[in-house]
Amino acid sequence: MMNGWELVIGIEIHAQVKSNSKLFSSSSTDFGSGPNSQVSLVDAAMPGMLPVINKFCVEQAVRSGIGLNAKINNKSIFDRKNYFYQDLPQGYQISQFKDPIVGNGFIDIVLDDQTKRIGIERLHLEQDAGKSLHDQDPNLTFVDLNRSGIALMEIVSNPDMSSADEAVEYVKKVRSILRYLDTCDGNMEQGSLRADVNVSVNKPGDELGTRCEIKNLNSFKYIHSAIIYEAKRQVKSIESGERIHQETRLYNIDSGETRSMRSKEDAHDYRYFPDPDLLPLEIEDKWIEEIKSTIPELPDQKKNRFIKDYNLSEYDAGVIVSDKATSDYYEKVVKNRGPKLVTTWVTSELFSILNKKNLTIDESPVSHDKLGELIDNIESGKVSNRLAKDIFEEMCETGKSPSDIISEKGLSQISDEGELEKLVDDVLLANPENIEKYKKGKDKLFGFFVGEAMKLSKGKANPKLLNELLKSKLNT
């Protein structure tokens, strides 16, 4: 709520289906090569070309629907959405209007330890458009149809969100679920997942305000700031006596502002009607059940299990499961090891290095085996926690295994009693005054002796044994 205004947000997420070929044609979905190189006759809307649906894309939509706790419709219809645009070769987009493949569902988001349920209105399949390049020529726009026809899942939420933070959490959660299901790679920078955000403001108790749609936001940061900007803009307009017009707006990432989209000014009338080139899509319960049986553990379930099995805090569990790869990494490391130590290492040391280097967990310089090995060395007392941090740093730099680093640098912990005794004796011999003070009751000096002995051992002394030995020598 801002200055007595309520914010109402609904989100349409466009998620590209992770498939080899396009929704209605056999051309490839990866664009390594040049412009218009992954374009079939169907994608280019050549005369007489007809769509044939990709079964895998249907399956992925069903899978995603199940992951969003949604109803899978046994019969759905493909419609044509008619409009002219340079990136839309057919002059219509094949989409689903009245009868989508997936109906009502929901997901739960957690914000400030509060769980909130966000309703999903529907998920439908549709074709992606081509890409336009506006900056290659002063007088021309260039069109590349490589993306044209790739399968999109459009996931439409109810207008259940009331802050930019909730909106971001919602998109994060949907993205996380799709990545768990492996139906969309969720790569927002590359545009495989993008959000259209509908924002309106109203006074508490009043009816909903007129909404504006901000199109194609492809990062959490942009979603957040676009909503904040747009809400303020609407409030300011209304407070200065203007009316909000329902319109499509674009977010400018440089200025952080939203502006009306000029090319969409024409009043549009999409003239949806069932695509006569396609028959109704029928999905039998048997197939839905088969797909259900292959659904992996999803973030919410996993979080509960982690809390229960590994005694994780709600917060740590939430962070670890939000990304499937992270949770997989965590589980591999935690296997047969103490969860507390593993959690600390993953959430603090590992996350901080990944953050610093701007890497994903898949790109981590330290593999799960190597981190596990390091933790084993800590658990067995071979290296101290402090030393382990140095080793970890070196692992990140060089990619070497912890045992290699330990043996190369002779970093193995000194646990040999004779060796330790010699260390302790050397320290005591060098500090007779401090021994005097200690014995007179200055207990704090115990730490000084430990520190000196550690220094002398170059950090390798087994702290527990060192403590015991010092204590017994000083107290006699």
């Binding site: 498939s19 490839s28 006759l41 340079q86 069932p274």
Partner: protein, 95 residues
Amino acid sequence: MEFDKDSLLKLGKLSKIKIDENKLSSLSSDLGSILKFIDRLQSIETDNVDPTSNSLDQSLVMRDDIALDENSAAEILENAPEKELDFFSVPKVIE
């Protein structure tokens, strides 16, 4: 029966067909005549009738997800009235 001229111009905008001023009149009378003809359906009782959008009684056949590399950019662009490099080109669009 004449088809309303403003509506006709609006239809032209929607379907991206420029309607010449000098054809407006004949076109609106043609469309009016067609409209009158199809209006005949309004009197038919269809309350409990399901619509048919395709007469073929079959459910949608699906294909396997196999990517084929069938067309080069050159082939796709072969008939393009204007192209630049390997792109289709159109008058500059301002979003």
